[in-house]
């Protein structure tokens, strides 16, 4: 199957890069370690067999109170292969920092600003990490699970 070939390619390139492979309803998720994210991303974009040049979306999920608390989901799309792939990175609650993917996919810029704004995840190397939806002087990160839906903070 096409999706297996991506994983095989990735494993051939670096056996340690793939931490875990999840499969649910026909969607493949590759879990990678934070320190490998940039290398894996560059491989997936540049390798002629994968070419995931289109970054659809970055979704941050808060698993509070489970540790590692945060998950970043990178939804990739390969126009040449007509395939989708999800990269997942897990981040600890006391250290929600991930490398910025803007050098790999310029589209990551606003997605990362949104994850920073609403989830409080910092992206190292981001060119312009400011709040994007909330006012600049807002306190707290609204999409975190310990942030109330209504009432006073």
């Amino acid at each position: 199957m096409e999706k297996d070939s991506f994983i095989r390619k990735l494993r051939e390139w670096d056996a340690a890069a793939v931490v875990e492979v999840l499969d649910f309803r026909g969607e493949t998720t590759i879990v990678v370690a934070r320190e490998n994210l940039q290398r894996v991303a560059e491989f997936l974009v540049n390798d002629p067999g994968t070419r995931f040049a289109f970054l659809s979306d970055i979704t941050a999920v808060d698993k509070f109170p489970i540790e590692p608390r945060f998950e970043l989901n990178y939804h990739l799309l390969s126009l040449e292969r007509r395939a989708r792939l999800r990269l997942k990175v897990r981040l600890a609650g006391d250290d929600p920092v991930a490398p910025s993917m803007v050098p790999v996919w310029p589209a990551a810029n606003w997605h990362e600003r949104e994850a920073f704004d609403l989830m409080g995840i910092r992206f190292e190397g981001h060119p312009d990490l400011r709040r994007i939806l909330m006012p600049d002087d807002w306190e707290g990160y609204p999409l975190r699970k310990d942030y109330p839906v209504e009432g006073y903070r």
Binding site: F24, R25, A53, S56, N73, H75, L79, P135, D137, E139
Partner: protein, 399 residues
């Protein structure tokens, strides 16, 4: 924390101009901080968030069915596309199949909303650039689509007509004839818009060669929809990853090579015609009789009759409407082609009756990111054309 102040690039003799958030041609509450050298744009920074309503957060405290009504409010020009994408995502988590009749009706109605949305786009874009008549003509046809939607769902805009597992109601008798009547007169109206714009010298001067976006930049910036196809990339989710039986319909994906505002205009006008083609095929395909909802006890509400006559039906009805249903643990990313591009819903379930996380991949949000690419180095008057041509809906950008 101090409120950040925009820092111009520091070039000599530049002026900072604040455009919006209350500006008629920003199509809502978009604010763009422009740095100008004379009439030339040196830098542009879009500021968004004025319409942020926290829909993603609200979804987490609703049941799966209740969240549908929130999705209407994202892209309010194409509410049925949002309904469809969210329902498809939840249906994938549940692993249920929707009856063919409901799938075809879904296709028909989403294509009608695509036509309606593009009509608003062509009208407002033209009025921004000084052509008043197209706006009036476009809204005349859009009104008929709104009436069809009202006939089917009872609502003009916030329809919430697609439900998890199928449709909310059986469509009323005579609605397909009304759609067919609309289609009979529609091609002549599209020709009217094209008469007014396609060869119009002012229109050509204002859009041709303006707001160029190369295919490489468009892909790198994640741009999708007609804005991407205007740059020569044929990516359309309906063709690449068919959903809701789109693979059974025969239609073309209009692509233009030039990458300017005019190319994107041609793409959208051609798309209006293709959508009309799909609607016509759907009319022929929709069976007169058949279920509009899948059967999944405990997940999909039973029919009215079953609820009144069987004890199981009554129990399921009560349980579904009081506590909802609990899908298995898991997460899916479902994408569809909305009028603006790739609309995606990431839905994560933790096994409870409320979605654990709902994330909307809004095409307008991503497309707006490309705005500085379009306007820098051009005249300030072209900024209006470039905002119009990316076809943003702020309800979706800010969520």
């Amino acid at each position: 924390m101090p409120i950040s102040v925009e820092t111009p690039t520091g070039a000599a003799e530049t002026m900072v101009l604040n455009m919006g958030p209350q500006h008629p041609s920003t199509h809502g509450v978009l604010r763009v901080v422009l740095e100008l050298n004379g009439e030339i744009v040196v830098s542009a920074k879009p500021h968004i968030g004025y319409l942020h309503t926290g829909i993603e957060k609200s979804c987490e405290s609703k049941t799966y069915s209740q969240a549908i009504t929130l999705t209407d409010r994202l892209d309010y020009l194409a509410p049925l596309s949002n309904n469809l994408c969210y329902c498809l995502a939840v249906e994938r988590i549940l692993n249920i199949e929707v009856p063919k009749r409901a799938q075809y009706i879904r296709v028909l109605l989403t294509e009608l909303t695509r036509i309606a949305s593009h009509l608003v786009w062509v009208g407002t874009h033209a009025i921004d650039l000084g052509a008043m008549t197209v706006f009036l003509y476009g809204f005349r046809e859009r009104e008929e689509i709104m009436r069809i939607l009202e006939m089917v769902s009872g609502q003009r805009m916030m329809t919430s007509y697609f439900r998890i597992g199928g449709l909310a109601l059986e469509p009323p008798p005579g609605w397909l004839e009304r759609v067919a009547r609309f289609l009979d007169s529609f091609p002549a109206h599209v020709a009217e818009y094209e008469d007014l714009l396609t060869q119009n010298r002012i229109w050509l001067a204002r859009t041709k060669g303006i707001g160029y976006l190369s295919p490489e930049d468009a892909i790198a910036l994640g741009v999708s929809g007609p804005t991407l196809r205007g740059s020569g990339v044929d990516y359309d989710v309906r063709k690449y990853f068919p959903y809701s039986s789109y693979e059974e319909f025969d239609f073309d994906v209009p692509v233009q090579k030039d990458g300017d505002c005019y190319a994107r205009y041609l793409c959208r006008v051609a798309e209006i015609k293709e959508s009309a083609k799909i609607v016509r095929q759907a009319i022929a395909k929709i069976p007169a009789e058949g279920p509009i909802r899948t059967v999944a006890p405990g997940i999909i509400p039973p029919s009215r009759e079953e609820m009144k006559t069987s004890i199981e039906g009554l129990i399921y009805h009560f349980k579904i409407y009081t506590e909802g249903f609990s899908p298995p643990r898991g997460e899916v990313y479902q994408a569809i082609e909305s009028p603006r591009g790739e609309l995606g819903f990431f839905v994560a379930s933790d096994g409870s009756a409320n979605p654990y996380r709902v994330k909307v991949r809004a095409p307008s949000f991503v497309n707006l990111q490309a705005l500085p690419e379009l306007v820098v180095g051009r005249l300030i008057a072209d900024v209006v054309a470039c905002i119009g041509t990316t076809d943003i809906v702020l309800g979706e950008v800010d969520r």
